[in-house]
Amino acid sequence: MVIYEKKYDVIDLETGRLDPLIFTDEEVYREELDKIFGRAWVMIGHDTLVPNRNDFFHTYIGEDPVILTRDANGKLHAFLNVCRHRGARVVRADIGNAPNFMCAYHGWTYSNQGDLEFVPGEDEAYYRDIDKEELRLVEAKVETYAGIVFATWDKGAPTLEAFLGDARWYLDMTFNRLDGGTEAFGPIKWIEPVNWKTAVDNCSDNYHVPTTHLSAILVGTQMQGLPRLTHQKQFESENKHIFINGHSITVRPLEKPDQARQIHGVTEENRHLFEDFYRSTFAEAEKRLGSFRAGGLQLGNHSIFPNGVLGFRLAHPRGPLETEFWHFALVEKDLPDDLKSSLKRASGNYNGVTGLFEQDDMDNWRGVTRGSRGSLARAYGQRLSMGVGHEGRNPDLPGIVSERYVSENNQRHFYRRWEEFMNADSWTDIPLEPITANFEGTATIKGTE
C-alpha cells in the first residue's frame, strides 16, 4: 500500500473536529472546482427540460457554464459554454431551441453536436490555417439516471452506475417508481451567502429540523394533519440514515404500501387522493422495484455527492462564500393533474427562495460560512462528534447505516468523501463501494429500457 501524506486532513473521524478552512479559503475553493467538480458526475438537468430536438437548457458544472442540448438526432450533449476563440459564452439564454450556437463576439458558430461549423474570415483572415476539428466545443460525458442528466468532464470517471452505487437502490423509490418516470419544473434561482458544502451537509442533518424549522413545523403540520415533529420524535425515529460513496440517504418505513408519502403538498384534505394513487400504481411499482422498495419504504431527505441537495436540486458553487441555488420540483408524470399542482405549489412554498422551511436555513449556513473566517473560529474548529462509532451494516439496507436517525455520521461521511476527492491524483485513487444491493424488479438506471 502506498503511504503518502494527505494534503487535506480536515475531518477527525474520532473526535468529529472539522477544519473550517474549507468553507472560506480561496485556494481550497479553486482546488474543489478541479478535483471535485472537474471529476464527479454532477447533476445538470433533466430529460424533460429539453423535450424536443434542438432544445437547450443552460446549466453549470461548478462554475463552468454548460449547454445541455438535445441534437437533431435526439442525443443529449453537455458542452462547455465557452467559445474556443476568446472564451465568451456562445449561449446567453436560460432555454431555447437552436440547431447551432453563434458566439455573439466574433461570430464563430458551432452545431449542437459541438462542431465548429463557421469561422468568419477562415479563408482571408486566417489564411485557411485554422484547425476547426480541434476547436470543437468542449464536451462532457453525459449519462442519465431515470431522466436525471448527469455529466462529468473526467474521461477517467467510472460509470454513473458505479458512481451512484447502492444509493440508486434507494433513489429508485422516488425517481424510478413508475414506467412514466418523472417530470422536472423550474428552477427557482437565488444567491445564498453560504459555502456550497453547508447546503449539502445540512440537507441530511436531521438534528436541526425541530429547532431551525420550528415555526414552519408549527404552521405546516396543521395543514398536513400530522403530529408535530419534536426533538424526541427525531431521536426515537424508526427512520434510517445511510451513507454510500459520499451520498446521503434517509428512508422512512411505511406502515402500508398505499400510505401517502410524507411530502410537502400532501395535506389532510388530499391525503386520500394520494393514497388512491399509490394503491392504483402499487402493482406497477412492485413490478419495477420489488415489494419492499415499492411499499415498505419511502425515500426521505438525501443528498447526492457533490452538490445535489434534497432531491434534484443543485447547489452551484460561486466562490467560497457564495452559492447559486437551483430549486426544482420533480413530480411523477403519471400523477393526476390536481395532485401534480399541489406538489408543485407546495414544493415552492416549503422550499425554494420563499420556502417556509428553507428561508430559515440561510442565516445558519451563512453563520457557518462567515464564522469560519475568524482566527479564533478557525483555531477551535467545528465539532461533529454526535454518534461517533454508532453505525454499521444492516442486513436489509445496503450501505453504512447509522444506528440513529439523528447523528453526525452524515457530515463525517460527506467530509471524508470530500477528502478522498481532494487528496486523489485521479479517479484511480478514489474508492467506490461495490454494488451489493439486490435490485429487484425491472427498473434500470435508464428508467425503462
Partner: protein, 183 residues
C-alpha cells in the same frame, strides 16, 4: 359625474389604498395586511427566465408551473402566522423594509365593461403598479427588489380587497438569501 372624474377619483382612492398597504408592511402589521386579501386570493410570483427576444412568450413561467410564490389564502396566512410564532428565524431579528409603490394604472377587468373608462358599476378593477422594495437585514445584508404588480381588486362591503396579485420581479437569479418579506 363624468367617466373622467370617476376615473380620477378611483385612481386617487386606489393610490391611497396602496400607500396604506405599503405602510402596513413597513410597520410590520402583517395581520392587518393579510386582511386586505379576499379568501380566494392567488398571491403569485412567476419565475422570470432569461430568454432571447424571439422567445419572449416564455419569459414568465405560466400558472401551473413551478412559481416563486404560489399562495392561496391558506399559504399566505401560514406565512403571517409563522412570523407570529417568534421563531421564524429568517425574520427574527426582522428585516427593515421600505415599499415604494407608484405608476398606478387602473383598468377595467378584461371583458367586464363595454365602454372604456367606465368604472362606476365595477366591483372589480385591474390595478397595475410598479414597486421598489428596499430591504436590509442583520448587519449588512441589503437587497433592492424592483418589479411590477398586477392586482385584481374587488370591492367587498365598501372596502377594496386584493383578489389576485401577480408580482413580476425584474430579476432572473434572485440576489437575495431568501424572500422572507412580502411584495
Amino acid at each position: 359625474m363624468s367617466n373622467q372624474k370617476l376615473g380620477q377619483d378611483l385612481w386617487h382612492e386606489l393610490m391611497q389604498f396602496y400607500i396604506h398597504e405599503a405602510w402596513l408592511l413597513d410597520d410590520r402589521k402583517f395581520r392587518e395586511w393579510l386582511e386586505l386579501f379576499t379568501d380566494d386570493i392567488l398571491y403569485f410570483m412567476p419565475r422570470r427566465l432569461n430568454v432571447q427576444r424571439a422567445d419572449s412568450a416564455k419569459e414568465l413561467s405560466q400558472p401551473g408551473d413551478l412559481a416563486i410564490f404560489d399562495d392561496d389564502k391558506t399559504y399566505l396566512a401560514m406565512r403571517v402566522e409563522r412570523l407570529e410564532t417568534g421563531m421564524a428565524w429568517s425574520e427574527n431579528p426582522p428585516s427593515r423594509t421600505r415599499h415604494l409603490v407608484g405608476n398606478l394604472v387602473v383598468e377595467p377587468v378584461d371583458g367586464d365593461s363595454d365602454s372604456n373608462n367606465s368604472y362606476s358599476n365595477n366591483d372589480e378593477v385591474k390595478a397595475k403598479t410598479a414597486f421598489i422594495l428596499y430591504r436590509t437585514h442583520h448587519e449588512t445584508d441589503e437587497n433592492i427588489f424592483a418589479g411590477s404588480r398586477e392586482d385584481i381588486l374587488r370591492r367587498v362591503d365598501g372596502a377594496w380587497k386584493i383578489a389576485k396579485r401577480t408580482i413580476v420581479l425584474d430579476s432572473n437569479v434572485i440576489l437575495s438569501k431568501n424572500l422572507s418579506v412580502f411584495f
